[in-house]
């Protein structure tokens, strides 16, 4: 009979995220949340089914992991292939790949902020679920929705100009890129920059003007100490393309610096949980679960000494005023994401004005010279690793991938527990309580098709369980 008092809440699917997941909240006898789990419900198996394919197919094949950040997979995969070829790619190819990656960060961050999270920020966490979409934002504050559409379009159009199409371009190849940049395209991209800089700036101002309304969420949305991990340049500056791994602790102190991404297996472990297809990476020197760390925009703002562009550096300085230590609340992922959009636009302008950028030397040719290669970059959601082994014929024999969203798995689980404990009351459930649990997940902007190398759109689901595991309630939004 004690069993009957134990309850579970299921949120299924979690919505306004990229991919499929559900959340289960386990309640005690008093209707308080005592445990929470984030279940990723799909898996594809890229690490196995790439076996036997020529390594040169990997960038195009691995890009199919994701429709949102295919460019990051192209880049990490091509860098792993550069290592198999044992070549240094031409400087212009290096810069063009950087521009390509930055354009994708702009479109991906715009998708996360405007299309997925701005309904919560504009309409409130308790808003009518029938209105909490981009179309609801369009009805309430049209200029905000239009800014989001324009910013995403700007990023996608750059990808199209460089790579020939917006999604799954095949332009990044082992050894460099397949075509140089034309002057026409360079000038067309540069012409759009002043407009999008203004959009990035006014969005930041708007966010800062509304964040006060979310004081309770800031305090409880994944607001706890963890490590933070990301790539930085040799001088400690922000980069999305190449550098050493830096890890800082919650106090903001550097605990590891200049780690070679190719040695990732020496410091990153991957743990399996029986209830999710998403593995839980942890920092091995600290062990499990103390080795919990976060990646992505918040982590990058915590690990980098500077952005290296004027406006973004002003914003970074202001960001660090939020907290003297590392900035700990995952609610601030939104803020960090907007600073990064600003940085990406400024940085693209610098690179496009580089006199070398129109050079025709954009690809190094070689046969495979090394049996093993690791490629690493910062994807919009965090650090991305591709690791391949090949045979004498250049056919793939083994692969391992650690995807940005995966690194945040432990932090997302701990985060939903924190927010659910604070807001969810089993005896009088409201959609707004559960929306906050989902909004915490949205702050991390997980890409679940990426992280489990799964495919397609993943709706998220939330269940309410009793301590015995019985399903108490399933909150289903009105259609």
């Amino acid at each position: 009979m004690e069993e009957a008092t134990r309850k579970t809440i299921v949120i299924d699917p979690v919505t306004r995220i990229e991919g499929h997941a559900k959340i289960t909240l386990h309640l005690n006898e008093d209707g308080r949340v005592e445990d929470a789990r984030f279940h990723v419900t799909q898996f594809r198996g890229f690490e196995k089914f790439c076996e036997g394919r020529p390594f040169s197919e990997m960038p195009a094949l691995m890009a199919r992991i994701c429709g949102i950040c295919p460019v990051s997979h192209l880049i990490a995969s091509a860098k792993a292939c550069d290592a198999l070829l044992a070549v240094r790619i031409p400087p212009t190819a290096d810069k063009l790949r950087r521009i390509f990656g930055l354009a994708q960060v702009v479109q991906s961050h715009a998708l996360s902020f405007f299309y997925l999270s701005s309904p919560d920020l504009l309409l409130g966490m308790d808003a009518d679920p029938a209105k909490t979409s981009l179309f609801g934002v369009l009805a309430e504050k049209q200029e905000l929705a239009r800014d989001g559409i324009r910013l995403r379009q700007f990023g996608q159009q750059i990808i199209e100009r460089l790579g020939g199409k917006r999604i799954h371009p095949a332009w990044v190849v082992p050894g460099g890129v397949s075509e140089p940049l034309s002057q026409l395209n360079r000038d067309a991209i540069l012409a759009g920059i002043p407009e999008v800089l203004k959009i990035a700036e006014r969005t930041l101002e708007w966010f800062k003007s509304v964040v006060e309304r979310f004081r309770e969420e800031v305090a409880t949305f994944g607001n706890f100490p963890t490590l933070f991990l990301g790539i930085v340049k040799k001088d400690g500056g922000l980069t999305f393309y190449d550098g050493g791994i830096r890890i800082v602790n919650a106090a903001g102190d550097v605990v590891a610096n200049g780690l070679d991404p190719a040695d990732y297996q020496q410091y990153i472990g991957e743990k399996v949980e029986s209830w999710t297809y998403l593995k839980s990476p942890y920092y091995m020197p600290t062990g499990y679960p103390e080795g919990i760390y976060r990646v992505g925009p918040l982590a990058r703002m915590n690990v980098a000494d500077r952005c290296g562009t004027p406006r973004a550096d002003q914003e970074l300085a202001e960001f660090h005023e939020l907290q003297r230590t590392a900035v700990l609340s995952s609610f601030h992922y939104h803020h960090a994401r907007l600073i990064e959009i600003l940085y990406c636009v400024e940085r693209m302008e610098q690179l496009l004005n580089d006199p070398e950028i129109l050079s025709k030397h954009v690809r190094a040719f070689a046969r495979p010279n090394s049996p093993e290669g690791v490629g690493c970059c910062e994807a919009p959601r965090g650090t991305l690793f591709h690791h391949y082994k090949i045979d004498e014929q250049g056919l793939i024999r083994w692969a391992n991938l650690i995807i940005a969203t995966g690194h945040n798995n432990m932090a997302m689980n701990r985060g939903i527990l924190q927010v659910a404990k604070h807001f969810v009351r089993g005896e009088r459930l409201t959609p707004g309580m559960l929306n906050r649990v989902e909004a915490l997940i949205r702050a991390y902007d997980p890409c679940l098709s990426c992280s489990t190398h799964a495919w397609g759109e993943m709706p998220l689901v939330v269940e309410l369980h009793s301590p015995s595991g019985e399903i108490l309630d399933e909150v289903r939004r009105p259609c």
């Binding site: 919505t15 690490e47 089914f49 429709g67 917006r166 209830w275 942890y282 397609g456 259609c479």
Partner: protein, 159 residues
Amino acid sequence: MSFLDMDEALIALAEKVDLVYSPLVDTKTFPDDVDITLVEGAVSSEEDLHKILTIRARTKTLVSLGDCAVTSNVPGMRNPFGAKAVCDRAYRENTTLDAGTPDQDIPKLLDRVRPVHEAVHVDVFIPGCPPSADTIAYVLTELLEGRQPDLSSKTRFGA
């Protein structure tokens, strides 16, 4: 994502249709009497199969969108290996702690990944990886006008 590449045309589309179920809106249950459903991705888990049967039963015109839905494409590459082998690679070999394939509270993978039309009847096929936003917009316009779209010159496999 290619659907979103319609950019500002989304605003005009929003005036003609109600988006009733999507990862972009907060509806948790697939509604009854849906006019048009665009389905992307292959059928790879028991949950996918259950979902597509529900969607078919509640949809007038079902559109199979993209190469994964139309042919099972990249997800189908696991078929020669089988579900167990791909899980073993990820959860037994490439693991440092608690190796073993997850099997609690998550959908079981099907032995074979299948295209959507092997599970249910499909009314319109749009190949492409992905089909362009223009192609998707064209199909929606034709269907809203009550015409069958002619895709012969608009897209192709791998486009």
